[in-house]
C-alpha cells in the first residue's frame, strides 16, 4: 500500500472537515453499491511480488530469436536506459504547464526534429501509439483531405497495419481498400497506374516492405502523383540511416514503427508511432505538436501548439481522439538518435544488412532451401523451405532454443513453406552458423 496518512492524521482530517466518520463523506452514494464483496487474493509484500514476477518472467522461454516482421530485437544503449529511468521524465505529466515542463517540451521538439531528419519530412507530431495506429491515422487524414473513399495499398505492407486501418475506419463499407499486387515480392507500379480512378484518395507503400525487400519508392510515388492522389510511406526509421527517404521521393505522409530505435520488444509495447507529413497537411495531423516560441523577455522556450486540432479543444470536431501518447518512448528514440548520430545509425544499418546478406548466403547453401525473392533486402529475407515453415519453426524452437524466424502462412497458400528470417546488430556470425546447423538438423 502506498498511503501516506496515519490513522491519527485521518482522524484529524475528518474532524477538520467536520464529519464524524468517513462514511459521512460518501452519503451521496446509494447504500446498495457500497462495500461489495470482492473475491481477490490477499495482498503480497514487495519481496513476494519480486519473487513471483521473476518466476513468471522465467516462464517465458528465452530463445535466440530471428523473428522480425516489423518488431526488431535491437540493442538498447545503457545511457538510454539510464535517462529513461529518471523520475523527472518518467513521472511527469503531459507538459500542459510549459513553464514547469521546459525540459520535456525541448525533448519533444528534438524528437520531432530527429524524425523529420530521418524521414526528410517537414512536420512530425509528438508520437502516436505504434506504427499501425500511425498508419491508420495517416489513411484517415488522406480521406479527410481528399474527400474520396478508396485506399490503394501495396500487397507488401504489414497486413496488421491494413487490419488496424480498417478497424480505425470502423469497418465502414463506404471505404474501399484495394490491394496492388506484387511482382517478385515488389509492388508493381503498372497495376498501380491502372487502379487509380476518380474515387481514389491515396496509395500506401512500405519500405523495406513486409518481406524485407527494398522497394523503388521513388517510382511508386511518382506513379501515384502523376494521377494526383495522396501518398503514404511506411518506413522503418532505423533503416533510414541508410535507405532512400520518403521525403526525398515526395510522399505526403510518412509513418513508421519507432520500436526499431532501441526500444525493447516487450510482447507488443509500449512502442512508438511515428507520424510525419508535408507542411501543407500540418492541420490534419493528429496528436500533440510542440513548437518553439519566446517568453515575455524574448527568451527561447517551448509550448504545445496548434491545439485547435485536438480533442480537448475541438471535442467531436477533432482530427483524432488521441490524448495520452507514447512520450517516454519518443524520448527514448530521441536519445537513441543522439547517441548514434548520423554515422552510427548508418553503421548500424550496414551491420544489419551485411549480417542478413551473410545469413541468406549460408542458409541457402542448405539443400532445397532457396530465397523466395531475388530483389535486394535490408535486414530480413524470406526463405522457401522443403517443408511447412510452421513445423520447422516449432521443431527448431523445441530442440535448439532458437526461434528461426516467422512462418508466413498467415499471408496465404503460397506461403506455407515460407520462413522470414531477420538479423539485427544483436546477432553475430556464430549465431548465423548456429541457426544454419539447427535448421539443417530439423529439415
Amino acid at each position: 500500500m502506498y498511503i501516506s496518512n496515519t490513522d491519527q492524521e485521518k482522524k484529524e482530517m475528518l474532524e477538520k472537515i467536520g464529519v464524524k466518520k468517513f462514511e459521512d463523506l460518501i452519503s451521496s452514494v446509494p447504500k446498495e453499491f457500497l462495500n461489495p464483496k470482492i473475491n481477490l487474493p490477499a495482498a503480497l509484500s514487495e519481496i513476494e511480488i519480486s519473487k513471483k514476477m521473476r518466476e513468471l518472467s522465467e516462464k517465458n522461454k528465452r530463445l535466440k530469436s530471428f523473428v522480425g516482421a516489423g518488431v526488431y530485437d535491437r540493442y538498447t544503449p545503457a545511457a538510454m536506459k539510464a535517462i529513461l529511468s529518471r523520475g523527472e521524465f518518467l513521472t511527469a505529466y503531459t507538459p500542459y504547464q510549459p513553464e514547469a515542463s521546459q525540459g520535456l517540451l525541448q525533448t519533444i521538439y528534438e524528437y520531432q526534429s530527429s524524425m523529420c531528419a530521418l524521414y526528410d519530412m517537414d512536420c512530425s507530431n509528438a508520437s502516436m501509439y505504434d506504427g499501425s495506429t500511425s498508419f491508420a491515422e495517416a489513411v484517415k487524414a488522406c480521406l479527410r483531405i481528399s474527400g474520396k473513399n478508396k485506399i490503394l495499398y501495396s500487397a507488401a505492407i504489414n497486413p496488421r497495419y491494413i487490419e488496424t486501418a480498417k478497424t480505425y475506419l470502423a469497418n465502414d463499407p463506404k471505404y474501399i481498400f484495394e490491394e496492388i499486387p506484387l511482382s517478385g515480392g515488389l509492388t508493381d507500379e503498372k497495376y498501380l497506374a491502372e487502379k487509380i480512378d476518380d474515387s481514389t484518395a491515396c496509395f500506401a507503400a512500405a519500405n523495406p516492405n513486409y518481406f524485407g525487400l527494398i522497394e523503388n519508392i521513388e517510382i511508386l510515388n511518382k506513379t501515384a502523383k502523376s494521377k494526383n492522389i495522396l501518398t503514404i510511406c511506411c518506413a522503418d526509421p532505423f533503416s533510414l540511416g541508410a535507405l532512400k527517404t520518403p521525403g526525398e521521393c515526395g510522399f505526403d505522409f510518412a509513418v513508421g514503427e519507432g520500436q526499431s530505435l532501441g526500444l525493447p520488444m516487450s510482447y507488443g509495447g509500449p512502442y512508438l508511432g511515428i507520424f510525419t507529413c508535408r507542411k501543407e497537411h500540418i492541420r490534419q495531423m493528429p496528436g500533440r505538436i510542440c513548437g518553439m516560441t519566446k517568453d515575455k523577455d524574448g527568451k527561447r522556450g517551448f509550448v504545445l501548439t496548434l491545439q485547435a486540432r485536438e480533442q480537448h479543444i475541438r471535442r467531436d470536431k477533432a482530427a483524432s481522439n488521441i490524448c495520452s501518447n507514447q512520450a517516454l518512448c519518443a524520448l527514448g528514440a530521441t536519445i537513441y538518435c543522439a547517441l548514434l548520430g548520423p554515422k552510427g545509425l548508418k553503421e548500424a544499418c550496414m551491420i544489419n544488412n551485411s549480417l542478413a546478406v551473410k545469413a541468406a548466403k549460408e542458409l541457402t547453401s542448405i539443400k532445397d532451401v532457396k530465397l523466395k525473392y531475388k530483389a535486394p533486402f535490408f535486414n530480413e529475407f524470406v526463405l522457401e523451405l522443403p517443408m511447412k515453415a510452421s513445423e520447422l519453426r516449432k521443431k527448431v524452437s523445441e530442440m535448439f532454443s532458437i526461434d528461426p524466424g516467422l512462418d508466413l502462412s498467415h499471408m496465404g497458400k503460397d506461403f506455407e513453406n515460407s520462413l522470414m528470417v531477420c538479423l539485427t546488430e544483436t546477432k553475430n556470425e556464430s549465431d548465423i552458423f548456429e541457426l544454419k546447423k539447427s535448421i539443417e538438423a530439423c529439415l
Binding site: 484529524e12 473475491n39 518518467l90 525540459g103 470502423a170 540511416g241 517551448f302 477533432a318 544488412n353
Partner: protein, 481 residues
C-alpha cells in the same frame, strides 16, 4: 526551480560537433549490399555527440521539469499518484522485455498468464464479466468500446447513430464518438452538476446507441441516479459506457458493474499507478458485460488444459486495434500493483483519495468557492472568488503562481461548464503534511492576489522561462530544427 544550475536550453543539434559519436559497433568483416539507387542521398541532420555529452544534455533537461517524484501534482482527472518503484523493477525483467510479440504461445506462457490473471482480477474488482487489455490509452479504450457497441447493433440489426455525452465529459468522449461515425448529442448538466433524468428521457430514442457516463463525473460528484440512467437506457436498447478515468474514487469501495453499465475503460496510468511518462505510454483496457464479450478485439488470451494461448478464431470480433498486443510493459507494472493490494487495501485507496480531496476542499472553500457545496469524491472543482475576479485575477494566474511555490498547477479551465475552473485531485498517496502546505500556499497566493495583483498576474517569476507566447508559436510554427 534549479537555483544551483544555470538554465541551459541549447538544443542537442547546437551542441553537435562533427566526428563525435556516443555508440560504436564492431563488425570487422561487414559487407553490406545496399544498391546505390536505394541509398539515401544525404545524411540525416542528427546531433553528433559523445555519450557523456548526451547524458549531460538529457539529464539537465530532466531538471527543468516538474514530476510526481519531485513535486505535488494535484491535476484533476489525471490521478497523479506515486509510481511505485517495484513496478519499474519487475516490468524491466529481461524475460519480459526480450519477448517478441509473435513468439509462439508455448514460449510466452509467463506473459500470457499475467494478462489472463489481470483480466480476472480487474473484472472482479469492477464487477464486470470479460476484459481486453489491448488498448494502449484511455482514448484508445474508448474507441474500442464504442466499436464494440457499433458491432453489437450491427449484429442485432439495429441502426443507431447517436451517442449521448453529458457536457461535463472529457473531450475524448465526443471525439471518440465522431471517430466511430456517431453523432454526439450533448446534454446539459443540472445546476448541481448531475445528469438530468428528464432531459435524458427527452433525448433517448430509437437512434441512441450509447450513453457515455463518467462516474464520478468530472466535477468530482457521484452520479446518484446512475442506476436509473442505466435502466432507462437499457429499456431503450441503449448501451451504457463508463469512462473509467475517475475510478480511483470507487476502487475497492464500489463495483461499477453493479450500476448496470455495459462496458468501461480503465486507465492503468491513473488508478493502477503506472507512470505518465510525460504524456504516455499508458494502458487503457476495456471491461465488458457478457453480451459484448464476443466482439472484443482479437486475438484474445484464453486458457485451455492449463496452457495459455492467443485465440485468433473470433468470428464476431471487431478486429485488430493495433499491430500487436497492448502496452505490455505498462500492464506488468499495473499487475505488480494488483498483487500489492487485496480487497481491504483497495478500499483504502478510494477512502484516502476521497478524504484527501475533501480535506483540501473544506480548507479552501471559504476563499475559493467550490462548484458544489456537497462533499466531493476524489476531486473537487473550485474557482477564484469574486474579490479576486474584481482584481482581474484569473485561474491561470493562480496556476502560474503555484509553480513559483513548487506545486504543479491543478487542472485548469476544465470541466468546460465551470467558469474559471480549478480542478484539484490530490490522490491517496499524498500526505496530510503536503496537503497542509498546499493549502497554506493557496491562502498565501489569495492574499498576494488581493494586495499585489500585478505580481500574481506576471507569475511565474522563478521558472526557467516566463509566460510563453503561444500566439507566436501557432502563427509561425517552428516545430523542428
Amino acid at each position: 526551480m534549479n537555483d544551483i544550475m544555470k538554465f541551459d536550453n541549447e538544443l542537442s543539434i547546437e551542441k553537435s560537433r562533427t566526428g563525435k559519436r556516443g555508440l560504436h559497433f564492431n563488425c570487422p568483416s561487414c559487407q553490406a549490399n545496399i544498391p546505390l539507387e536505394a541509398a539515401r542521398k544525404s545524411e540525416p541532420k542528427l546531433p553528433q555527440l559523445s555519450e557523456f555529452d548526451a547524458v549531460r544534455h538529457f539529464t539537465r533537461l530532466s531538471k527543468y521539469n516538474f514530476s510526481v517524484d519531485t513535486h505535488f501534482y494535484p491535476l484533476g482527472s489525471c490521478t497523479m499518484k506515486y509510481n511505485p518503484r517495484i513496478n519499474e523493477e519487475v516490468s524491466s525483467l529481461e524475460g519480459f522485455t526480450s519477448l517478441h510479440p509473435m513468439s509462439l504461445d508455448e514460449n510466452s506462457q509467463g506473459t500470457l498468464e499475467i494478462i489472463y490473471d489481470a483480466h480476472q482480477r480487474l473484472c472482479e474488482l469492477c464487477g464486470m464479466d470479460d476484459a481486453t487489455l489491448w488498448p494502449v490509452a484511455g482514448a484508445h479504450g474508448e474507441y474500442t468500446g464504442i466499436l464494440l457497441a457499433k458491432k453489437h447493433f450491427s449484429v442485432i440489426g439495429e441502426e443507431r447513430d447517436e451517442i449521448i455525452v453529458p457536457d461535463s465529459a472529457h473531450g475524448t468522449n465526443p471525439a471518440t464518438a465522431s471517430m466511430a461515425g456517431f453523432k454526439t448529442i450533448n446534454i446539459q448538466s443540472t445546476p448541481e452538476g448531475l445528469l438530468d433524468i428528464e432531459t435524458l428521457k427527452k433525448h433517448l430514442n430509437s437512434k441512441t446507441a450509447v450513453i457515455m457516463m463518467t462516474v464520478p463525473n468530472t466535477l468530482g460528484i457521484f452520479e446518484k441516479n446512475i442506476k436509473t440512467i442505466c435502466e432507462l437506457s437499457h429499456k431503450n436498447g441503449t448501451l451504457v459506457y463508463m469512462d473509467g478515468a475517475n475510478l480511483n474514487a470507487l476502487i475497492g469501495l464500489i463495483k461499477p458493474g453493479d450500476f448496470g453499465i455495459d462496458m468501461m475503460h480503465l486507465n492503468m496510468h491513473k488508478t493502477f499507478s503506472t507512470p505518465h511518462g510525460g504524456g504516455g505510454p499508458g494502458a487503457g483496457g476495456i471491461l465488458v458485460k457478457k453480451k459484448l464479450s464476443p466482439y472484443l478485439p482479437k486475438p484474445k488470451v484464453e486458457k485451455k488444459d492449463g496452457k495459455y494461448f492467443l485465440n485468433e478464431n473470433l468470428p464476431l470480433s471487431i478486429g485488430r486495434i493495433k499491430s500487436h498486443f497492448g502496452n505490455t510493459q505498462v500492464l506488468l507494472r499495473a499487475y505488480a500493483y494488483l498483487l500489492k493490494h487485496g480487497p481491504k487495501e483497495f478500499a483504502e485507496i478510494a477512502e484516502n483519495a476521497i478524504l484527501n480531496a475533501n480535506y483540501v476542499k473544506s480548507a479552501l472553500e471559504n476563499l475559493f468557492p467550490p462548484y458544489s457545496k456537497e462533499y466531493c469524491m476524489h476531486e473537487c472543482v473550485l474557482a477564484p472568488s469574486k474579490e479576486l475576479a474584481d482584481k482581474g485575477i484569473k485561474t491561470l494566474d493562480i496556476a502560474k503562481r503555484l509553480l513559483d511555490y513548487g506545486f504543479h498547477a491543478p487542472t485548469v479551465y476544465f470541466p468546460l461548464i465551470v467558469h474559471e475552473a480549478i480542478m484539484i485531485e490530490p490522490t491517496e498517496t499524498e500526505s496530510k503534511e503536503t496537503l497542509d502546505s498546499f493549502i497554506e500556499t493557496m491562502r498565501k497566493i489569495n492574499e498576494e492576489a488581493l494586495n499585489n495583483p500585478e505580481f500574481v498576474k506576471n507569475a511565474p517569476h522563478t521558472m526557467p522561462v516566463k509566460r510563453l507566447d503561444e500566439v507566436l508559436a501557432a502563427r509561425q510554427p517552428n516545430i523542428k530544427w
